[in-house]
């Protein structure tokens, strides 16, 4: 069952076409990796899935993105409800200048949860979900900016989990982190797929290979190839895919 899929998706930055006729679907409870060289459109595509591109002036999208079968670009869609369901984690850890607790509680509070007990419970379960609870449970009221980069990124994941999303979009979430923090996040991603559907943009092909079930290869705004990760890396169907993955490995 595909929870989210794109159909004939084109995206333009004013006159420049950044995505060309993308048809791609993501099955529930899977990890999908989007790979490709810089500027290939993988991040842009990721951002169409929760309409973060709306924030950029002059972006025009045609075609459809179906979330649970419903077009998210339809006029009656509440984009804030959509983003609650389709959460996002960014390249650079970006915790708010608040306490750890308030960072996690920010999303639930935004969506109207005020009950202290419910918030406490959400904060705990989200931090546990992001494998951060044990490290921070004694300093929830301290500023989130005091955490290390890797902890900050897991905090951002916990923050995204706190609004109970169905899909989690991750835009190169480990590119600003050291190898140890990176592997912690990778482990986390694998465990998260039991509950969530994850789409992750990565420039690191070993990472894609380690954690993803599906991989999609983008080049110059086109979706070149998509398939089961192992198959795509071991026997790519397209010449361009092969060039890219062997080029990097070789």
């Amino acid at each position: 069952m595909n929870i989210i899929e794109s159909k004939n998706l084109d995206l333009f930055y004013s006159s420049h076409q950044a995505l060309k006729n993308i048809n791609l679907s993501f099955p529930e409870n899977s990890v999908s990796a989007l790979i490709g060289p810089s500027g290939c459109g993988k991040s842009t595509f990721l951002k169409t899935l929760n309409r973060m591109n709306d924030l950029i002036d002059g972006v025009k999208v045609t075609g459809q993105i179906l979330y649970n079968g419903k077009d998210i670009y339809a006029s009656d869609v509440d984009v804030n409800e959509l983003r609650k369901d389709v959460g996002m984690v960014f390249q650079k850890p970006n915790p708010f200048m608040m306490s750890i607790y308030d960072n996690i509680a920010y999303g639930p509070r935004t969506h109207g949860i005020k009950n202290k007990a419910v918030l406490d419970e959400l904060v705990e379960s989200s931090l546990k979900g992001a494998a951060l609870w044990d490290e921070v449970k004694d300093r929830l009221k301290k500023s989130a900016l005091g955490l290390s980069g890797g902890q900050q990124q897991r905090l951002c994941i916990a923050r995204a989990l706190a609004v109970k999303p169905k899909v989690l979009l991750m835009d190169e979430p480990t590119s600003a982190l050291d190898p140890i923090s990176t592997s912690k996040i990778e482990e986390l991603v694998v465990t998260l797929k039991d509950k969530y559907t994850i789409v992750i943009v990565t420039h690191n092909m070993q990472q894609a290979l380690r954690i993803s079930d599906l991989t999609a290869f983008f080049l110059l705004g086109n979706l070149i190839e998509v398939g089961k990760t192992e198959e795509l890396f071991s026997s790519p169907k397209e010449k361009k895919t092969e060039d890219y993955i062997t080029g990097r490995f070789g």
Binding site: L55, L82, K84, D85, F90, N94, F96, T110
Partner: protein, 283 residues
């Protein structure tokens, strides 16, 4: 040799501002302290009556101190919310064109000389206050509060605007990605992130309100009453300015003492500002 001499010259030029601060401080203390000694610190600071020219002169400046405090608080109550919300609008919601136009407008109203504010206040605001509230004279604490509120607006807007615009886009994106609306994001993420800058703007506004003399002198009535919203009042600044030209003896010295008190107020504000600036740099 020549290089050394030039280096020394520049060092001396650098020290000129230190010299100025020292000169001002020393002169204010030297000329302000004697009268306080003669009148008595308690009598001076907490005396409720200022009658500098009578046969039995009294020099109590409590009315001026309280007027300055109430005037400043009043102008903040009115000016701050307007300035704050305007800054949020300009920083986050306004189209670029409108933002630019307002930046120029705000530059202009912050550059308008205080006597011009005083003039308009005298001829428009004071009669207006008199008619609306049915007073014998509109020149009052209330009128001065309004003028001060207008005068601190540009300071509040300018400084808050700068710090709101400096909030990294990342923060806002994170909040939007959690399903918060843009408005929620601005007020719950951007504003807290810019809080030390916004606080700085408030302190600068306080400084401006405490230090303003001319505009206040033209609309406050300048009678040495204990402050009351529709009464004619005298601020610390105007107390100095109004009597200086015809003062002599102890009266004149007492005016210097008032200036010294005002200077202390301002130095406290400056101190707070410097702490805030340091925090800004650390953040």
């Amino acid at each position: 040799m020549k290089e050394r001499a030039i280096g020394i010259i520049f060092t001396l030029l650098g020290l000129v501002s230190v010299l100025f601060v020292l000169l001002i401080t020393v002169y204010l203390i030297v000329s302000g302290v004697p009268a306080i000694g003669e009148i008595g610190f308690i009598n001076f600071m907490f005396g409720k009556v200022w009658r500098s020219t009578g046969s039995d002169p009294q020099f109590g400046i409590l009315p001026f101190i309280l007027t300055t405090i109430w005037g400043t608080i009043g102008s903040l109550i009115i000016g701050l919310p307007i300035g704050f919300f305007s800054a949020v609008y300009l920083a986050k919601m306004a189209p670029k064109r409108i933002r630019d136009i307002f930046v120029v407008i705000i530059g202009v109203i912050s550059g308008v000389p205080s006597v011009v504010y005083g003039l308009v206040g005298m001829l428009v605001l004071v009669p207006f206050v008199r008619t609306v509230f049915n007073l014998p004279d509109g020149a009052s604490l209330f009128a001065s509060i309004i003028v001060l509120a207008v005068m601190i607006l540009p300071t509040v807007i300018k400084v808050s605007l700068t710090s709101l615009e400096a909030v990294p886009k990342d923060y806002e994106e994170a909040s939007l990605a959690l399903g918060a609306t843009k408005i929620e994001t601005y007020f719950r993420v951007s504003v807290p992130a810019a809080r030390s800058g916004i606080l700085t703007s408030v302190v600068l506004g306080i400084g401006r309100a405490i230090g303003e003399a001319m505009a206040v002198m033209m609309v406050a009535g300048n009678v040495a009453n204990m402050p009351s919203i529709f009464k004619s009042v005298r601020y610390l600044t105007t107390a100095v300015a109004i009597e200086m030209s015809y003062s002599s003896g102890l009266q004149r010295q007492a005016l210097f003492s008032i200036a010294l008190v005002l200077f202390c107020f301002i130095m406290i504000i400056n101190g707070i500002l410097m702490v805030l600036r340091r925090e800004n740099k650390d953040a």
